[in-house]
């Protein structure tokens, strides 16, 4: 019955805040990712994801004061996304068929990524928290706003990007999605 939000993921107490160069490097990585999404370079985006990624957006509920702990779905309950890399790759493959009508014409998205905070964990992994506001334009006069936070776990990579996203939790500030669909990425 605490007033404080019970987050749907475990907050690690090990680790320490990133130093400035690491913070900058992670933030730039997140900005590169956002730019790929907004440019619809989805195949390249997949390369930023670890093969073992869990890409998870639990549903959210209005609760009574006594049941605030139930604000977020548990991991085995309803979720807006609960994707493996295989699922994500299939979403991308679908878009690239040019016959995914729900994204014809493609959404005009803009990922504003802000409030980036980075921690280096004891095991060498990196935790990045950020806020987002995603603007999505469709047709001529359809506007949608998605607000939320992301909790990412990154691991080092020797590919074209310095990191890979090993886990992403997307916390929407919506209990009901005010959009025809969640046909875009966050």
């Amino acid at each position: 019955m605490s007033y404080e939000m019970v987050l749907p993921y475990r907050v690690s107490d090990a680790g320490e805040p990133a130093d400035l160069p690491l913070w900058h490097s992670v933030q730039q990585f997140l900005f590169q990712e956002a730019a790929l999404l907004d440019r619809r370079a989805f195949a390249e985006w997949l390369d930023m994801l670890d093969d073992g990624i869990r890409y998870w957006a639990p549903t959210r509920y209005s609760r009574t004061p006594r049941e605030r702990a139930g604000e977020w779905s548990r991991p085995d309950q309803a979720a807006h996304f609960d994707d493996s890399k295989q699922f994500l790759a299939l979403r991308v493959r679908r878009l690239l068929t040019d016959r995914a009508w729900s994204e014809d014409a493609p959404s005009r998205t803009r990922h504003l990524v802000t409030n980036v905070q980075v921690r280096r964990l004891a095991d060498g992994a990196i935790e990045a928290d950020s806020n987002f506001l995603v603007y999505r334009g469709r047709v001529d006069d359809c506007e949608e706003i998605f607000s939320g936070a992301r909790h990412d776990r990154l691991v080092g990579s020797d590919g074209p990007y310095p990191f890979r996203i090993a886990e992403r939790v997307i916390l929407f500030d919506h209990t009901m999605i005010l959009a025809n669909n969640l046909g875009i990425f966050f």
């Binding site: 549903t59 509920y61 609760r63």
Partner: protein
């Protein structure tokens, strides 16, 4: 409200089920919508929840009947009550949570308190404010007239003269039993997904009732994505099955179980398929060989707004929200007795395919929105739509399936859906 009807309705009604036409006004006209709230949602049975959402005494789920907010609450005796989520004093919502546990419902404005069945049990400062003269039995929350638990689905109606539930399902009951009379019963994965589609609710309901025809066109991109990259994209096979219809309900069952199983393997995974196959002998014991082994349900809608994709294990309510919008409330439906890993796999696959981010779902929602977008000017709004697909057979020529049926890829059930809708719309009163 009866007076305005004649003027509002085109001479031949909005629907000509014989000719197979639909007047576009039913999708955009605010007056039609307001009447529909009274005459369709106010008169018929409506699904408000699955019983697994409120397992224990005091559990509640706040739902909707048309646009009216209702509380669905498990009572101490195990029964379920459904009542309007509105205080009778000055009308504040009694409960603001989406779901949870309660002992009573206390209004946040002046503290009047209602029990789990919606009875008014306390008027604040009763003796001080001369509240004793208020007959509490007359000022309880407005309760539904009837409630029915159909294999775990909770239905309610405001209409005391509503037909018995089995009569409401009519001939379609034989088919819906096939979906819901599962051995050991069903449950939904915890929680609920809600999203808003900018289209009239009937576009969702109609499609689940009667429209397998759209699949190869609407979902072509997703189907391609699911196929091996080197597989040639041929014309997909025609579904071999029957489309049932009665009293506005409709759906399709197929006898091509092999094809259906292949589709299950693709959409839900091999493990879920294997599990489902393992349940068929038990199904057959209860429902016979045809409904146990020899046929599989494909899609269906219980009039007016409960959609079902049995293979994809999704259950959803098309909640009206003004003429041009609906809320979709979606759940993953699983056998209560299924092992945890099967439930988990079903949860993941159903969410991936038919839910807010579902790769199939998205295409449907956007098509409906595109219908709505053309309904702004007088030419688009006065359109008459073609609803003539299918032969309109009445009986299964092979004599296998009972009731009124047509071949699977027909719009006969859509004609039935709209004809039943119009019948309710033209009947006066409750």
């Amino acid at each position: 409200m009866a007076d305005g009807i004649a003027d509002m309705r085109p001479a031949a009604g909005w629907i000509d089920a014989g000719a197979g036409t639909i007047d576009a006004a039913i999708y955009w006209d605010p007056a039609v919508y307001a009447l529909e709230q009274e005459r369709v949602f106010g008169k018929t049975w409506l699904c408000v929840a699955h019983e697994s959402l409120v397992p224990k005494a005091g559990d509640f789920f706040t739902s909707r009947m048309g646009e009216d907010p209702v509380i669905v609450a498990r009572q101490r005796d195990g029964s379920i009550a459904v009542f309007l989520n509105q205080c009778r004093h000055r009308g504040a919502r009694l409960c603001r949570a989406d779901m949870g546990q309660a002992k009573v419902f206390a209004c946040s404005y002046h503290g009047w308190t209602y029990d789990l069945a919606g009875n008014l049990i306390s008027i604040s400062k009763e003796s001080v404010v001369d509240g004793g003269k208020i007959d509490k039995t007359r000022w309880g929350a407005v309760k539904v007239a009837k409630i029915h638990n159909y294999h775990g689905l909770i239905f309610a109606t405001w209409n005391p003269d509503a037909p018995a539930f089995d009569d409401f399902l009519g001939e379609a009951k034989w088919y819906f039993d096939m979906m819901f009379d599962r051995p050991g019963g069903t449950e939904v994965i915890g929680g609920v997904q809600k999203w808003v589609v900018k289209a009239n609710w009937k576009l969702g309901a109609e499609q689940f009732t009667s429209d397998i025809y759209h699949f190869d066109y609407t979902h072509v991109g997703t189907s391609m994505a699911f196929m091996p990259p080197d597989m040639p994209m041929g014309e997909p096979p025609v579904v071999n099955g029957r489309q049932f219809r009665d009293q506005g309900h409709g759906g399709v069952v197929t006898t091509d179980v092999q094809l259906s199983d292949m589709q299950t393997a693709i959409a839900m995974g091999m493990d879920v398929l294997a599990y489902n196959q393992s349940r068929r002998p038990l199904m057959a014991e209860t429902l016979g060989a045809l409904r146990g082994h020899d046929a599989q349900p494909v899609h269906a809608n219980i009039f007016p707004n409960l959609g079902i994709l049995p293979l994809n294990q999704t259950l959803r309510l098309w909640q009206p929200r003004g003429p041009g919008e609906m809320e979709v409330w979606a759940w993953t439906l699983v056998d209560k007795e299924a092992p945890p890993e099967i439930k988990e796999r079903a949860r993941l696959q159903t969410q991936f395919t038919f839910a807010s981010s579902g790769v199939f779902e998205q295409d449907d929602a956007e098509n409906w929105a595109e219908v709505q977008r053309a309904l702004r000017g007088p030419m688009g709004r006065s359109a008459v739509f073609n609803n003539q697909i299918g032969r309109g057979e009445s009986r299964d020529p092979d004599g296998i399936f009972p009731g009124t049926t047509d071949f699977a890829m027909s719009e006969a059930a859509a004609r039935g859906f709209y004809a039943h809708w119009q019948k309710l719309m033209l009947e006066d009163g409750q």
